[in-house]
């Protein structure tokens, strides 16, 4: 006590600035010590939790697999919750344990097919996991909502579609993606109805995923595509154009030709590519009319199409664009001219004075 008093008296003799510095030093030291202790406690808590998760997960996996395997061997699927393993039933009332149980079930469900998958699905439907997943859909946290939707997709629960459609235009892309995948995975082509209400863009990755999922369905009956081609959401139109290409939906050629006048340049280019792919000769005259209004990609796509469908009556159009500044258009025009009219090609060869064009003509002539 006396020593502390001595120290205080000793410090009081210093100027005020030194006293403040000492106070700051003491304060910071105390803060650092508290932080170290806090981090130590936090780290040991996290390690304990991590160890618990690893041990509990292992235990649950064994219990789950033993149960699934036993049912599979006996050729039965018990539906009553009371028939499920005690360890699983007990764990369902604790949030962390429930999460581990659900993760283990999802992990196994993704890997096995047939009766075993059916048993896991029955467990999900007949325990409170189903109710908790439904509750997750109402959560304010976006990642909880996404997890809820994902569990319904994995366990193929079709009865909650009305709840999930509410999230189709969610502000977070992760939630939207899960909701969209739910419909495509569970309902196939019929599930694409959500595209009618979709106001946000579909990314290229989403579109690829949808096509991959749709490809796995045995029922390839495609309905309701026509209104989607008129969607105000250009990413939906682009996706449906991909569908038309992959599934050769020639019956929508009128709607596809109409898209050549779409306000969105990317849609116009994709529509041109599709009419070119389908070799829709009736689209050729339409494209010639709108040619000047197209951007470079669109013009190149038109000339790529022309390579396949051009005939004698297209020679004036080809000649009119032979001096285009774009190399790809110029090259395609010269190649088409060579195929359509040899005489006109020779005339062109002799009349052109521009060195670059001459080089292209020479190249095409000898290729």
């Amino acid at each position: 006590m006396i020593r502390i008093q001595n120290v205080i008296e000793y410090v009081e003799h210093y100027p005020i600035f030194i006293q403040v510095v000492w106070l700051v030093v003491i304060g910071l030291t105390v803060c650092i010590l508290i932080s170290v202790v806090f981090l130590k406690i936090m780290r040991s808590h996290l390690r304990r939790k991590e160890n618990f998760i690893a041990v509990y997960q292992k235990k649950i996996e064994i219990v789950l697999i033993e149960f699934v395997y036993k049912q599979y061997e006996n050729g039965i699927v018990l539906e009553e919750e009371a028939s499920f393993p005690k360890a699983i039933r007990a764990g369902l009332h604790n949030r962390l344990k429930r999460r581990i149980i659900l993760d283990s079930m999802i992990k196994l469900k993704a890997e096995v097919a047939g009766e075993m998958a059916q048993t896991i699905q029955t467990m999900f439907l007949n325990t409170n996991l189903f109710d908790y997943a439904k509750e997750k859909l109402q959560s304010d946290k976006w990642h909880i909502v996404a997890l809820g939707i994902k569990s319904f997709t994995v366990f193929k629960v079709t009865t909650v579609s009305e709840e999930i459609i509410k999230h189709i235009n969610h502000e977070r892309v992760e939630v939207r993606r899960e909701a969209q995948l739910y419909f495509v995975n569970l309902f196939g082509f019929k599930g694409l109805g959500f595209l009618k209400t979709l106001t946000v863009p579909l990314s290229e990755w989403d579109q690829i995923q949808f096509l991959a999922v749709l490809n796995s369905f045995n029922d390839q009956k495609i309905e309701g595509v026509e209104p989607l081609l008129k969607s105000l959401n250009s990413s939906v139109v682009l996706f449906v154009l991909k569908l038309c290409k992959v599934y050769s939906l020639f019956e929508f050629k009128t709607e596809i030709i109409e898209l050549l006048f779409h306000k969105h340049p990317e849609v116009r280019v994709e529509a041109i590519k599709l009419v070119s792919h389908f070799q829709l000769s009736e689209a050729k005259n339409v494209l010639k009319e709108v040619f000047k209004e197209l951007n470079a990609d669109g013009k190149i796509a038109v000339f790529r199409m022309m390579k396949e469908v051009a005939n004698q009556e297209d020679v004036p159009f080809v000649l009119a664009n032979i001096q285009d500044l774009n190399f790809h258009i110029k090259l395609a025009a010269i190649e088409i001219l060579k195929t359509l009219d040899t005489e006109k090609f020779k005339e062109l060869k002799n009349s052109i004075h521009d060195e670059k064009t001459k080089e292209i003509i020479e190249f095409v002539a000898y290729s």
């Binding site: 395997y69 599979y72 283990s104 469900k109 096995v112 097919a113 047939g114 075993m116």
Partner: protein, 122 residues
Amino acid sequence: MSGSKKIVLAEDNSALSLLLKFKLEKEKYELFIAEDGKSAIALIEMHNPDIILTDIMMPFVSGLELTSYVRNSLRKETPILIFSAAGQEKTVLQAFELGANDFMCKPISVNELLIRIKKLLI
């Protein structure tokens, strides 16, 4: 009959490994489980299995690298069955080019797997 047959399973999904352990051990196969390709190589070198079951996507050494190692470095003709996920068709073709004998798409049917194993062991 199949009691002496050894299987090395390279699979990073512990739940699937455990399930296959139940089934294959019941069928009297001796099963060695590796959680990644690197451990699988060690098990193959140590136990000289009659068949190898491997997932394509694994930590450290993939199923493709494992297949290549068995065929090109160990110079073994041990049958290799690959587990792939949907959408990995190109990778499966690569696995066949490297010397894999069969493949199964996940989710797998345990009964079908058993039939394929028996067929590969003939």
